[in-house]
Amino acid sequence: MTRRPPPAKKVWTWRSRALRGLVYQLIAVLAVGLGVWWLASNTMHNMQVRGIQSGFDFLGRPAGFDIGESLYEFDSGQPYWRAFLIGLTNTLRVALIGIVLSTLLGTLLGVGRFSRNALVRGLCYAYVEFVRNVPVLLQLLMWYVFFAEVLPTAADAWTFGPLFLSKGGLSFPIPIWEAGHLWGVSGLLAGAVLAFAYRRWSFRTFEATGQPRSLFWVPLAVFVLVGVLGWAAGGAPAHFNSPVKGEFSIEQGGSLTPEFLAVVLGLSIYTAAFIAEVVRAGIQSVVRGQGEAAAALGLSPGQSMRLVRLPQALRVIIPPLTNQYLNLTKNSSLAVAIGYPEVVSIATTSLNQTGRAVECISIVMLVYLTTSLTTSFFMNWYNRRAAIKER
């Protein structure tokens, strides 16, 4: 019969470790509390003396400023909270696209460091060293100068097929929505379902018979093929709204502003250098013995990478990679320096107009804190799940 431990009995003498610990903690909490109270009371007093209004009521009032670019309509008559919302969507838009681009580029660069080709190795190394040793703000400013000043005016825009690049930004064709597209979308959905079903089936036959089947290329082909079939069934609609060179600007089509391009490109290129290092360290961390063990078991180099080395490298890569994603998101706040209307830029404009420094800065901090804490929450969950079980 195992017994349960007795309830902890503490000796509360002056020399007991328990009491001392409690006293230290009380002192610490009191000191922090007093500090916060002092700052808060100073702030209250100062605001009263200087006649600064406080409160978040201003969020409901009309903003009175325009925003250069937004995902949906905004005019100066709309309230501040909508302006902040647009800032938030602009931040997230830059962050998401930046994360995708920097991951692609960073992975290529990181893997490139292991190339058998010395030229590729050297190039990847040079990229990383050059890019990460120059401040990201400076890089953003440089890209902005490039996009907004070095590039030719719309009249002499650089043309790459249907794309136009000029001081006005990048213009590109966008497909015009037609009823036939619905067929294409349904085709893609059906393709996805079929591809998934095939994957499951081939996995099962592999487990049952040991007969390996393609788990990637065939499902991909199924997905694309069925999608294209659906699109063809819908009459293969292919009308584009293409940009046209006007006299003063590029008209029609979709476009990206120079601010957006500078921010996305600058952040992606900067972060890619760090991601390259993360990937490199991850691949290096898998001890050589693991590859040797896989080879000794008769796995092919591809199988050894897919089944043994990559899963272990990913475990090392993913935590610092998430950190880089968070860094990119936080660095997107630098877009304020080149006038891209993300959340910090909206906050500073609001701050200058309303004078509510505490509120505006709090909103910014809250936005970033929420993002960071949610991400680290998921990261911790993932790490617990992925951790190698040890005794």
């Binding site: 195992t2 017994r3 349960r4 431990p5 007795p6 902890a8 009995k9 503490k10 000796v11 003498t13 020399r15 007991s16 470790r17 328990a18 001392r20």
Partner: protein, 247 residues
């Protein structure tokens, strides 16, 4: 009968809520006695040792070291630690300090000895473990056996009344075990009170006054070595001995 230097009185300890590591531990050690504790891994023998200088806290029962009951009292803990020297399986020498600095650290900062005296004492102890010529080196420059002897000397610099050994030879290459055991045997001859967790049965036979056999947190058997090795009383003891002496 004189006061025993160490007395366990129905000591119980748990890790967390479910793991009952020490169950009703009850024994005494007299001055100058040499005790060898053995048992399968996970039987609680290291934990028992670590309770003696409060590296682990027992939750129930009483534990007296040199007549003083071990409690949460800071002063008591400090005093007990000065009386108890400990040697670890992994040596736990401080790699950033030289051998000599490892030895003088406690005498200087805890015992408040002047540097000269602390160094004289350290050199004397190094002499005792026959390694004085290595005083200026860093621990990682020494072999495992030498490191463990330094660790013993470091514990001796406290001028302890009891020495605890927690599997002192388990991390050593076979050819180094003897040099450490020789030092321990010599220490035993000089009359040091020793508690030693070890699987070195030769050592147990040679120096131990008593062998304590533990399993599942309990003391299963306590006997003199000749009796224990030749006629173990319990099934578990027989089983254990057959496993470690089987080859």
């Amino acid at each position: 009968m004189p006061e025993p230097i160490l007395r366990f009185d129905k000591v119980n300890m748990w890790f967390g809520n479910d793991f009952h590591v020490l169950r009703d531990i009850d024994f005494e050690v007299a001055h100058g006695e040499r005790i060898v504790i053995c048992g399968p891994s996970g039987s609680g023998k290291s934990t028992l040792l670590r309770c003696i200088n409060r590296l682990e806290e027992h939750q129930q029962g009483r534990l007296f070291v040199d007549g003083v009951e071990l409690t949460d009292d800071v002063k008591v803990i400090d005093d007990v630690r000065k009386k108890v020297g400990m040697v670890f399986q992994q040596f736990n020498l401080f790699p950033h300090l030289t051998v000599l600095e490892n030895l003088t650290l406690s005498p200087m900062w805890v015992g408040k000895l002047p540097k000269k005296e602390a160094e004289a004492r350290a050199l004397a102890q190094l002499e005792r473990v026959r390694i004085a010529e290595q005083a200026g080196k860093y621990p990682l420059q020494l072999s495992g056996g030498q490191q463990q002897r330094v660790a013993i000397a470091r514990a001796l610099c406290l001028t302890p009344k009891i020495m605890l050994f927690d599997e002192p030879t388990s991390a050593l290459d076979p050819e180094m075990i003897k040099e450490v055991l020789d030092v321990m045997v010599e220490l035993a001859r000089q009359g040091m009170t020793m508690l030693c967790v070890t699987h070195e049965m030769g050592f147990a036979k040679a120096v131990a006054d008593q062998v304590i056999f533990m399993d599942e947190g309990q003391i299963v058997e306590q006997n003199n070595p000749a009796e224990f090795f030749n006629h173990p009383q319990s099934e578990r003891g027989k089983d254990f001995l057959s496993k470690i002496l089987g080859h």
